[in-house]
């Protein structure tokens, strides 16, 4: 065991002397997590600027404008008055407004007549949410008018004489829709970009360590170092154990550093200390197993490099390190759970959004199970090769 520790310490010293390993393990993940955190800082808050053009000035139009400027919407919506449609279009072009609501002339009078006039939303295709909010707010108001109109028509169709039309119209004015939305708290924290991409980028960069380590094993083989070690009373397994330990420590230190730096500097959430640390350790164990698999399967330095690269990129792509996996179609989300990094990201996502610390148990167990399975496969391949 001591020999394995010595080999691990030597490998780590070698790795930390190599600038590219330092860049991959520490500088790059922090830089990329920072970049993502800054890039998306404006996306996580929302405010719509909607221009309103009132060509009607009637009673219902005024009530609609009042509804738009109500206190309950002031946090989401700022209304900007525009004199005419041309000015509103200019405001959208200049970015002064994200959308515009046009109240046509004659709107109030027609709203209670047989041929109502519709409202128009002028939209910028790059600001679909602003147009959607403008449309939905206007819709919420006209729905009550539409409900009143439908109520009168239904009553008339049910047999109430047309002569009582005015009486019906007056009666529906006081009605309120029988169903309304009741916003409930979700009870969880919003997943921020920093909280997802910090672990995603950290895992991405430690996966590159598979290539480094496997390659170094073959380089030592080529340069005769392994042969010379063989002269000592050491087995190849001890050398591999030492190298595996080095990968493990490198991965834990890299992910741990990123966790601390991204939490302090970019407000990324990695969850409570113990389960987050367990996930980091479990993911690092998988990394060790994957490295031994590459060493077992490859015959040359070049092959090791090739296998490691392919494994790394396939895992990164399927596991969701490049894309926010929750936005992906269900089939891709299921595929992600075939990968260790997919499970690690699920664990970190759960912890970041406030799930109980026990939510990390399943991902940790699955990661350790995957590590054991990959390790067993590596052992089988090695045995098969040696016979």
């Amino acid at each position: 065991m001591y020999a394995a520790l010595v080999i691990a310490a030597k490998d780590l010293r070698q790795r930390f002397r190599d600038r590219s390993a330092l860049i991959l393990g520490f500088v790059a993940p922090i830089a990329v997590a920072a970049l993502m955190s800054f890039a998306f800082s404006g996306v996580e808050s929302f405010h719509a600027d909607v221009a309103v053009i009132d060509n009607d000035r009637g009673r219902i139009a005024t009530a609609l404008r009042t509804a738009l400027t109500g206190p309950e919407l002031s946090g989401v919506l700022t209304v900007r008055e525009a004199d005419d449609e041309a000015q509103a279009r200019r405001m959208i072009d200049d970015g002064a407004a994200g959308a515009a609501l046009v109240i046509p002339a004659g709107f109030s009078a027609a709203a209670v007549g047989d041929e109502p006039i519709g409202l128009r939303v002028l939209a910028d295709p790059d600001e679909p949410l602003q147009a959607e909010v403008a449309r939905a707010v206007a819709d919420a108001y006209v729905t009550q008018l539409n409900a009143g109109r439908l109520s009168v028509h239904t009553a008339l169709a049910a047999g109430v004489p047309r002569s009582r039309g005015d009486e019906l119209a007056a009666a529906v004015a006081g009605l309120r829709l029988p169903e309304s939305l009741e916003s409930r708290p979700t009870g969880h924290r919003q997943l921020t970009t920093a909280s997802y991409y910090a672990p995603a980028m950290g895992i991405m960069f430690v996966l590159f360590a598979i290539g480094f380590t496997a390659r170094s094993y073959f380089i030592e083989g080529r340069s005769g170092t392994l042969e010379r070690i063989g002269a000592a009373p050491l087995r190849r397994g001890t050398v591999l154990l030492g190298k595996s330990l080095a990968v493990f420590v490198y991965s834990v230190v890299s992910l741990g550093t990123l966790a601390v730096v991204s939490s302090v500097a970019f407000d990324a959430r990695w969850g409570p200390l113990l389960p987050a640390a367990a996930l980091i350790v479990a993911m690092s164990t998988v990394l060790v197993a994957l490295t031994t698999l590459v060493v077992a399967v490859a015959r040359t330095e070049r092959q090791a490099d090739g296998f490691a690269t392919i494994i790394t990129f396939v895992l990164l792509l399927l596991g969701g390190n490049f894309v926010l996996i929750s936005q992906a179609p269900e089939a891709l989300r299921r595929l992600a759970l075939l990968t260790p990094n997919g499970w690690a990201l699920r664990g970190f996502t759960d912890l970041a959004t406030g799930a109980a610390a026990t939510s990390a148990i399943t991902p940790v167990l699955i990661l350790l199970g995957m590590a054991a399975a990959i390790g067993a496969l590596s052992a089988l391949v090695t045995c098969w090769r040696s016979t």
């Binding site: 590219s20 800054f38 808050s45 539409n146 829709l177 399927l318």
Partner: protein, 387 residues
């Protein structure tokens, strides 16, 4: 010139024979294009989870669920805990809890609150609530109408519901139409039309950078020195390598364009503009590859640090997400990379129907980037080969 062609041919053969390189050049860009294309494809609307229980004996609950289908793809769920977990992980935008006593309460004339849990960013929450409110209001409209008609005629709401439902479809209502007033978009189209051009920009650059490892290796092996023993000028060797990278970048571009167009139906816009842009970007890739080969000291550095630089530049330059969503400072910073200029040009070609004249500025900047990198690379390489 014949020497330059011979050098280019030898280098190209070496790249093509390397299976790892083939994975990077052929398989990886296509797979990434598919994954990112699938994730950014917008199926339309919001992803809504609905907990309605059994609706077989509850026609009003069933019709509310039908109305909600207009908001976006519906996921009917049975356990609230599952729905909340999916919402927390961002797999759903909102969860609607249809109350068990909805039919009884509405038919009895009692107002009902529909509990809604909205997740995601603040912007999504505001928009998804508005969209659900509009669907619920449309449902409530006919309940109000049926109840009103029932009260005025002495019948029951249940009796009047079919009439209200039929009239809702037939009666003119105050509608809201949306009109896009800005002709071009600052975003690339969604789906594969987004991932294909951005992955072209990303991979041509990244593979050229990583491919610099071949030049470093040739340098280390002393092949250039040996070549100089023959009557070959250093300039011819440098030109040969440049040609190799240019052909390599062009081949990869053609592959991505063909796969995008044939398999995923991607439109590449004005053919002339697309060809000029692809050609210019291939020259930028050539410059990056040559610079990587000249500057890095070991092949490991080129193949390890190259992709990191490539990914970071791609993120800054808008290949991973649109620069239109990032803060101004990040957008300005992004334009220190050639990627941002190339992606801007693709936006002009694909989203604004731009031609060569419209992207002339971007092409000039890209050409300047390419010229700068090529000049620097040639100077460094010539110095290294002659010293």
């Amino acid at each position: 010139m014949r020497t330059a062609f011979a050098v280019a041919g030898a280098s190209l053969r070496r790249i093509v024979r390397d299976r790892t390189a083939v994975f990077f050049i052929v398989v990886l860009p296509v797979v990434i294009m598919v994954v990112i294309g699938a994730v950014v494809q917008n199926p339309g609307g919001f992803r809504i989870g609905v907990l309605a229980g059994s609706t077989s004996s509850r026609p009003l609950a069933a019709s509310l669920v039908e109305e909600l289908a207009a908001v976006g793809p519906l996921h009917t769920m049975t356990a609230e805990s599952d729905a909340r977990t999916a919402l927390r992980r961002g797999e759903l935008d909102a969860v609607v809890l249809v109350p068990a006593g909805l039919d009884t309460a509405l038919l009895a004339g009692d107002p009902v609150g529909i509990p809604v849990l909205a997740g995601g960013a603040e912007s999504t929450q505001a928009a998804v609530r508005s969209a659900i409110a509009a669907a619920v209001a449309r449902h409530a409209e006919r309940i109000q109408a049926a109840a009103f008609a029932a009260r005025t005629t002495g019948s029951t709401t249940a009796q009047q519901l079919p009439t209200a439902t039929a009239l809702q479809r037939a009666t003119p209502r105050i509608g809201i139409s949306t009109e896009n007033v800005v002709t071009g978009s600052d975003y690339l189209p969604l789906g594969y039309s987004y991932s294909a051009p951005t992955m072209l920009v990303l991979f041509v650059f990244i593979n050229a950078l990583a491919g610099g490892a071949a030049i470093v290796q040739t340098r280390q092996l002393g092949i250039y020195q040996r070549a100089q023993a023959a009557p070959i000028r250093v300039r011819s060797v440098v030109l040969g390598e440049t040609l190799c990278y240019l052909i390599f970048s062009l081949l990869q571009s053609v592959l991505i364009v063909a796969v995008g167009a044939v398999l995923f139906g991607v439109s590449w816009g004005d053919p002339l503009a697309a060809v000029v842009l692809i050609g210019t970007w291939a020259v930028v890739g050539t410059g990056a590859g040559m610079l990587s080969g000249a500057v890095f000291k070991t092949p490991d550095q080129a193949s390890a640090i190259g992709p990191v630089i490539g990914i970071a530049f791609a993120m800054l330059g808008g290949c991973m997400w649109p620069l239109a969503i990032v803060p101004d400072a990040v957008r300005t910073l992004g334009h220190i990379t050639p990627h941002a200029w190339a992606v801007d040009a693709w936006i002009t070609v694909l989203s604004r129907d731009g031609g060569v004249a419209d992207i002339a500025g971007n092409l000039a900047v890209l050409a300047a980037f390419a010229l700068g990198m090529l000049t620097l690379a040639s100077a460094v390489l010539q110095r290294r080969l002659t010293s």
